[in-house]
Symmetry: D2
Subunit: 331 residues, 4 copies
Amino acid sequence: MADVAVLGASGYAGAIAASLLWRHPCFELKHVTARSEAGALLDEIHPRTRVPLILEDWDPGIQGQVDAALVCWPHGVSAPAVAALRERGVRVVDLSADFRLRDRAVYEDWYGAHGAPDLFGTAVYGLPELYREAVRDADLVANPGCYPTAALLGLAPLARAGAIGDVVIDAKSGVSGAGRSPTETTHFISADENMTPYKVERHRHTPEIEQELAALGAALPITFTPHLVPLAQGELVSSYVTPTVQLGERELADLYREAYDGEPWVEVALGPPGVLEVRDTNYCRVSVHRDDRTGRVLVFSAIDNLWKGAASQAVQNLNLMFGRDESEGLR
Amino acid sequence: MADVAVLGASGYAGAIAASLLWRHPCFELKHVTARSEAGALLDEIHPRTRVPLILEDWDPGIQGQVDAALVCWPHGVSAPAVAALRERGVRVVDLSADFRLRDRAVYEDWYGAHGAPDLFGTAVYGLPELYREAVRDADLVANPGCYPTAALLGLAPLARAGAIGDVVIDAKSGVSGAGRSPTETTHFISADENMTPYKVERHRHTPEIEQELAALGAALPITFTPHLVPLAQGELVSSYVTPTVQLGERELADLYREAYDGEPWVEVALGPPGVLEVRDTNYCRVSVHRDDRTGRVLVFSAIDNLWKGAASQAVQNLNLMFGRDESEGLR
Amino acid sequence: MADVAVLGASGYAGAIAASLLWRHPCFELKHVTARSEAGALLDEIHPRTRVPLILEDWDPGIQGQVDAALVCWPHGVSAPAVAALRERGVRVVDLSADFRLRDRAVYEDWYGAHGAPDLFGTAVYGLPELYREAVRDADLVANPGCYPTAALLGLAPLARAGAIGDVVIDAKSGVSGAGRSPTETTHFISADENMTPYKVERHRHTPEIEQELAALGAALPITFTPHLVPLAQGELVSSYVTPTVQLGERELADLYREAYDGEPWVEVALGPPGVLEVRDTNYCRVSVHRDDRTGRVLVFSAIDNLWKGAASQAVQNLNLMFGRDESEGLR
Amino acid sequence: MADVAVLGASGYAGAIAASLLWRHPCFELKHVTARSEAGALLDEIHPRTRVPLILEDWDPGIQGQVDAALVCWPHGVSAPAVAALRERGVRVVDLSADFRLRDRAVYEDWYGAHGAPDLFGTAVYGLPELYREAVRDADLVANPGCYPTAALLGLAPLARAGAIGDVVIDAKSGVSGAGRSPTETTHFISADENMTPYKVERHRHTPEIEQELAALGAALPITFTPHLVPLAQGELVSSYVTPTVQLGERELADLYREAYDGEPWVEVALGPPGVLEVRDTNYCRVSVHRDDRTGRVLVFSAIDNLWKGAASQAVQNLNLMFGRDESEGLR
């Protein structure tokens, strides 16, 4: 039993992570922290977690005594906390964007100055389906963004095959992706019965997707547009690929079946997936199609943005880092 | 006052059309028909209409005595009814797909045999913003599909400018688009908190969009994928255009402003539109953007699928056909 | 044409009121004010209104030049503004709770000190179906609360008949009732797929309902509990009456038919109403039932909390005050 | 490991029960049956179950070889299947209403002729919190209705204390309670943004609640009205009790704390519960309040209608029948 802490447990992803670890057979959840709600019980704020721990202020001298920590803070404020934890030898899964990018200039261009420059570039990108072995040995894992998780699991087989000539990614997310702060955007009356594109041309997951597509063999600029839809949890990514080579339906099916055969958390579906099919799970559900009229390849991938897109994927990474079956505590 | 009938008034679009005509200053709603619910009061079935007319069986000898009719029946069954009405000199707005396409082979390829071949090709495509003058003189108007309405109003300025090299159209619709029949798809438990692509590669609005883009100068095969989202009424079409020429933000803004200046029912918005902004209205709300990283042009267009995408656009056409201000009865 | 202003037009009710008055045949909307968003266009903040007026700071020297004003501010801050308007001879419909109660001690008990004591007790309670004649002559009308509107229209026939021995009122409201401020309660993730009682034993509409029931002949303490349900607009009030006399189904039906015969905005339905049937309308839809097993009388009343429960009822009152048909501008 | 079957696994409750038993440490799920979808994989129809079993036709010679069965069929068709299973010695939890009532005349009055008269009256009412010991020894358990589960857990402490003089029960349920058949009621467009009372005066859970209240010491006719609200899973029961004796807040709190101390699946909350807090769980969450103005006692109880109101409570009963910890497989 390794001792773990969850920093930022009052947010949606942090609360789910705490809930998963509280019931996990291999980890003991010792500390949960919150920046503005310290002193409250976690299950007062998030009754569904049923984790009767008191939220603490962040204090590396206290929470830094654990074996591992999940850091669920926003980018910018996350990096210094991660640095403090690493100094104490704590193994970290960071759910922010602070350690996902490997090119410092790109990070600064999209996010501004980095909060822990010495650690920049030292993390493993925690998409287990792509970096499983590296995660096992990592002390610092950068948990992927929700959109990149779904987009990359959808596109990886094509990228590795060198088949992506161009790609348009149209993504749709439930409202929990906008975070727990009450804002005009997250107000029920704004979101209910509505849908709208947002952060057109400038969503920060763009360079993250491009970085990992390039690592897979598809170095190209992408068009990525997220949309807000009126549901709580769930993300659907529709990718429209102009292929470099003509691929038939059968070849596509084989490509995806082989890519994900044996993967515990990727389901290749025959028909297009619905987000409800993966709600409250660590699954990513993918389908691939060929549009015969245009030759384009269509890929749809569905995840729960708070689970596979954040909290449960962080636990999947933690399982790997501690030599456990990556699915433990996730069924 | 012209006398009008609504055939198929028990469906969602038909009920709204009947409600608009019941309160319209220039038309007198004389008959409403239904295929399976004849005998019932329309406002028992659709209380929101507050139209206290009894739904009748379809009988051209009775309902064919009016000056004009809106036919809100599905494709296939619509064409023969339209033919019977036209024989009696009734002017018709047909909301089905039966008269939208102008190429018989394309129709048969996507829909099968046509139900009134003699009339095929005689209708005016009833998108007033594109065919206003022709609609004024038409005796038979084919009311556009909901997706084509939003897609074409979004793309027309670019198409006319010869700027569309390629286009991916990702469309999202509320559940009313699936019709009033209770099915597994329309069950609350299937649709709520879910979203999913549907009719991938084979939605019948594809050839309709291609036909009208070609008429505007952009003859090319398109990739069109609709998605179902958990809301009642509203449609958002996200179009990703690979332009033939580089267009700056300013040029794009000018192009759209000029295209829609003076149009009563198209709003060019600065930011991306939300479907709630056009709910229960005849408006189409459009925004255009340039992705500097890829040079792609992004267009978002939002309508209410039952209003501008069906019922209110039919009334807009009817106004034009009878020489009235096209906005009468629609505010 | 009387000139009117809407104070507090950036809230949900104020925005709808402004939208109704902007298109009203008898009133000219001259000013809209907002406390924190002055300077913005109303239709930027509320695109659905399509009212292209700039929100102004409240200044009695400016907005107090109109013939009438609708005040859509919260209780407490409303009273002084109403006083300033009345001093200038402006006729006022106040949508806050400041002038609804007639017993000063009761007001202070539930709301605290009053902001314009000289005016206390001078207003007419603006439920037109109960106080139509008094509203016509009033210079200050207190627009009823949303729950009292539905509860009183549901219970008035029984109260007048002296038939209410005891009553339990279980009310359910959509989220717009919680106002436009983003809070934890109004966050989509809190409200979606949830429902919960709130303000148990202490909702401020309790004394308002009691006051008016007493005026109708039923002076008794009530049990009133509101619940929040996951929809935008709509309020359903379920009233469980222990009658003083046994009333049969037929007698009840007659009682309600007679009570509301000729009322333009109350619909007596045979079956229980759904809130969707009155969405975006000034209607209250009521049904009455007798539980043969217990002798209890059940009354269900449905309104749109922002329309009949606030904005459109305010316009209905304004119509009466200015000698117009009370339904003008509301269809 | 006992072998079990789920009859009627294609319905919502049956599918969840199958999913729970498929992963249960003490039971082996051998058969799942469906009346109209036999031959399909359960997880094709209900992907969320991830139970890769083929749905079979009902055949007592086959499915009747198991040690226990959960019967998830509607009342009427359930009784004969239960009889066939019992003849083979199979222990049964029946989720229909067929064996819940103990008075034959009452059953026939509300449901018509019984399908297995010899077995009538032999079942234990499977609300573990009330009948735990009897369930352990039972061969036939009648799983309670969803509304009775929530209502009785809310009212039991008061009923046992002899404190209920009269009670009005206003209940609200999500749409899954209406079953999986696509109907006008369950159509997304009917349910979304709507709420309405239904089966006023005549919901069949009325006699079931009365029977069990009487068994607890409160023999009285109740007023019970259910309402449909726009969410998928969740049930909130608001009970308004006219007490026989005055009970203070403190006494009420003590009464409930003592009643449920040590109960694993009943949570006594300080504030009113929301249904989201118990979504996808076996919990019932209860709060009790005193309305000082009227002396009335208010009780709110929230469950997930498909879990504690059906499937997970059935598994809880099965655990007890087979001598296991009643919570196994439910966390």
